[in-house]
Symmetry: D2
Subunit: 380 residues, 4 copies
């Protein structure tokens, strides 16, 4: 393939957080050009956002519908190859469906949809479309997460017995949604967030990370959700007991009212022979503990990594961060898509899919159900 | 008071872990002399243990009953002032009762008794005796734990919303109780440990630490206990949801099968304005996080400590450890006892009491009950 | 300015380390497109490298001379705006000189030239050209480095008294230059590296970092260089005493034979009132210590940062790394260049200049001279 | 030996820092009783100090001369076995000499004497006396220091190439000697401290630690001493280049004006195959790095320790600290002394000796000499 992929973006206007992340992540590896966008809900705002990104005015659209229609009519060597969807949750499903049905591949932020029903419906749409669909559970893009996964898959830790996963933020400790904080206002609004608050926003990352690393499904959970911020109807905190399909037990704790925490996603997994510990805020080390050996600390591109974990772009000691982990999702998606376009079949590309998205929605719904019944054990 | 206190010890023969800890902890501050002991179940072994401790043969007894009887008959300027009880759990209540009823003060290892009934009975015995009783929940002896407690008591964190406490060990990850490991064999034996395994051994420390630091009682809990070691009837792992009297929520996780963990007692407490984090394996720092300020790290005898936390013996940067924290329980008990002997009344001496012991037993029983009912919410 | 900047690259063919870093760093912020390159010493290899980067064949050149000539003849709306020079040290000066003299702006890797004489000559060339010149002392791009610099500049630490800076790597601990390691072979070769080995490669980063953060010049130094690798003529290790212009004293230690180290650039600066500590391998925290207050830890985009340090792209707790720090040099250079092209004058753009490059060469020469005289004090 | 050893103390009156440390350290292991003391320069003060320690009045002396004379006349089963000397530096030699010449063993704080001449003289006195003499370079008592030493001695790191040692404190950053700080006032006074300030107080610890761990002698040094505190005639800061007997090179940095530092003694040693890193403020881990393996972290009583390092009293994860490391010096000295008294010969007891003391004084004198000559290389 002699050219870069062409990306269109839905959402992500000036001042957005996650839209900017997607743009930077997609550009690091030099495989993708942003060529168009429906960045905002009006043409005017969309054009202003696009200009700041050096896009021509005629590729800045006032709605995703307009973008999909117009791009479809462009010549094949000009129109976008795929869309990146970076809107609030309620605006994931409609553009995803329309893009897929009009022949565009999709990369979408999580949670995959607003409702469980949409997620189920989306499975069929993706399968029928024959197009690629990636979900940006970006934390699985870190090399040390991949090393942990590989170690467990190869049996280094023995049978898994115990899992602790947590995702602690503090930015909603005070009522910032009553200020002009756009990030906060949609997240506490069920119409735009869905039935989960922190649960959908970050609990799903914790669920995805735990299942990705362990290779195990959570079988059932008991959830005690909190609504600490005054007037909030959605959860802003949660504590869960977990039971995994293989008999392992665990806890999950997430919060957006954990005062002073920044972005504290962390996991510990204990097997019969040893354990792994990883924390997103210090992503470049994987602490491993052993029944009969000293602690060993793995680092990206350092010694003794499994090939699955050799995904860092630069030598050991040159830390990669959040954007690079995000970029690895994009890189793997782009590689897969280039292969597709070149007629090469790939098996098991390493990025989250629509099935991971469905799993996340099932987790949200099971947790809300369990919480309603006073933390009753509920199957996912 | 012109003399050191005289201590007798029950249990703690050669090779014991906790007996040796009590001896070292009691001697650091130069306030206590070990003068006698019933170290083992036979006179012969007890004498051998006593000799290694440089005790005269006639103060080494073959049973606690003998020790209490004989010491009572010694002249007042020679006989022991108090006993330290460092036996397995089933041997806490009988010597404690007898010592108190014969006029000796008591310092006892935790959990306070084998059964909840014994603990309830002990309350009355202590109260009737008029003697001092201390329980060695030693982790509350760390200066940084006291700083955390003081900060919360003074409202620095605002109202408490969330608590995470864990106590992770890995030494029972394999079936060491089938080797000659004495520490392991009694801990997995309900006759000597009681109805809780890891629950009683370390879960009670986690419970005590959480309530000590927050100043809040756990109101109810949902417990999911694990028995991972083959053939074990007592729990060796547990995950709990917690609800506190003030509406705060939390999790507890303890384990003795967390492969590779050494002695991982750790706690995080989140209030409306900030939070504290402390870990026993790095006890000399208290990490505090704030809604609107950078992280601040407190150290023992460093800057800005509340007076309650200025308990370290040596300057900042000279780390104290486990033995010193343990010694602080002894020091506070000894100070109280010397004051008593000198006719000085002390209010609120800072060491764990029989009421903390009862609380621990109630916690054990509530957890076991909850677990039997599939993690049903159970009041402590 | 309605368009991205167009970059040409000299060096950085397939398999290069630093060329790839420059490409990724230049693309993160969406301000720069790579449009052409003289990636290798033959047209064939250069085209192969360019193709892998999705460049058209006619913009892949066989030499920097050819590139500069041909690009100059392209129409203004197509030709490159600036060149990025990412070759070994001996190939910094010639293309820089030619590019500047032909009207192209330059961003160049460090050390700025092969010899001190070249560096001095380059000053005049840059000044005469009226073009922009940036040097990628990338470690000054980290937000926490900027916070440290700002704190010192504003007097938060009081007068600076003591500086410790070190840059420890271990990748040359064994004789990797005798394998096919391209990175190693030119670095141990005086013809391509110049008179400094580790001194030029990483010592200059340490020197630059210390002067950038403190705002102070090193006045004199005493250098003891080591050549531990068998057969090496250039230093692979060095220890220095430092004296700063204001009377502060310090040490520098760098090494490429510090077995097991990855990329350990770290600095501590002590003033009368407090101190700062920063380490490149954990770049997202700045530890500050105070005479009379607890340690405070700053994080990017966290609380209480000076405006100079608010350069992180994403919220606190989402770690940025090496590439983003590198990208910040590019972003500041690109912003300056766009302003220039738009006729806007910028004062004090925040990126390293040719004068920093000269300073680095003077540091190398002073160190080598001092070492020859058995670590005699030598003025920079 | 059926009894504890009996210790007399010289210095260490109420309010002293190091006297209290010696008392606590000597009591932890239950081998030593404090039986008498010349705690202060008057009988009255000495008695007051002794009473607070529960000593009888007739064993509290007004001078060391009186104590040595009177104790010598006591019956053998009552008099002290050895003296602990915990006075300021100028009062080390006189009581040591007198005690040894009157048949008492000695354990003495460092530096061993006020002057190099005294140290040389002391060698002869010790040798002639046939008594034991221990010097409390307490930092060599940490288990992880012993593990580092053992690893190097056994060749695990290969030939040593590079050493970095530092000892950073900040308590003299301001002019505390002008307040009533007793610790500060004698340390800045050449009459009581000798020719080294921070150099003697903490530089000697750094020197001792480096030579203990590496098993190598420093051959020559270049020292640049600082006197930052206004009016100070002794150094309060120092930076040194080091060359070791085997060709290794290194740096030393010590300071008592490193604002905000507590007790930052730390060392890194690099060999051909790997390296070790240890820091006194987190003494319970030894970080090891390797050319071709991930970092490995050793902990006391954890896995894979050499027997030399299995000196911790309690299980892994139960941190020991400064007092226990100090106590290990006492324990090894007491064990040796008990063996002597029992007629058992010990080879190579593991505690610092008078020869280490001489080495420390030579280091002080070489450093001061080098500094006077503008950091000229000077042999130790």
């Amino acid at each position: 393939m002699g050219r870069k992929l062409r990306m269109g973006m839905i959402g992500g206007g000036t001042g957005s957080f996650i839209g900017d992340v997607h743009r930077k992540a997609s550009s690091i590896d030099g495989m993708i050009d942003l060529v168009c966008g429906a960045f905002s809900s009006t043409a005017e705002k969309s054009i202003a956002s696009g200009k700041a990104l050096f896009l021509p005015e005629d590729r800045c659209y006032g709605s995703f519908e307009e973008m999909i229609h117009k791009e479809k009519e462009l010549p094949a060597d000009k129109r976008m190859d795929f869309v990146a969807i970076v809107t609030p949750n309620h605006m994931h499903f409609p553009p995803t469906k329309m893009a897929l049905e009009n022949g565009f591949h999709v990369i979408c932020d999580k949670p995959v949809t607003l409702t469980l029903e949409e997620a189920k419906e989306l499975i069929g749409i993706v399968e029928k479309s024959g197009k690629l669909f990636a979900l940006t559970h970006n934390y699985t893009g870190y090399p040390m997460v991949k090393q942990a996964k590989a170690m467990i898959a190869k049996g280094d830790l023995g049978k898994i017995r115990k899992v602790q996963v947590q995702y602690l933020q503090g930015w909603l400790a005070t009522a910032v949604e009553k200020t002009e904080n756009k990030q906060a206002s949609w997240r506490v609004d069920p119409k735009r967030s869905g039935i989960g608050g922190a649960l959908g926003d970050i609990g799903t990352h914790a669920e995805n990370l735990a299942e990705y690393i362990t290779g195990l499904k959570i079988d059932e959970l008991a959830a005690d959700l909190g609504r600490f911020g005054e007037g909030r109807t959605l959860d802003d905190d949660g504590n869960l007991l977990l039971r995994f399909e293989n008999g392992a037990k665990g806890t999950m704790s997430f919060s957006q009212i954990a005062a002073g925490e920044e972005n504290g996603l962390a996991i510990r997994v204990y097997g019969e022979k040893g354990s792994v510990e990883w924390s997103q805020e210090e992503p470049n080390k994987l602490i491993t503990r052993w029944v009969d050996k000293p602690k060993k600390i793995f680092t990206p591109d350092g010694n003794d990594l499994y090939s699955e974990a050799q995904t860092q772009r630069i030598p050991a000691g040159h830390p990669e961060g959040y954007l690079e982990a995000f970029a690895t999702i994009y890189r793997n998606f782009a590689t897969h898509l280039m292969d597709e376009l070149n007629g090469i079949k790939t098996s098991n590309p390493d990025y989250p899919t629509v099935y991971d998205g469905l799993r996340g929605m099932q987790f949200i719904y099971a947790s809300v159900e369990s919480d309603k019944q006073n933390a009753k054990w509920t199957k996912i």
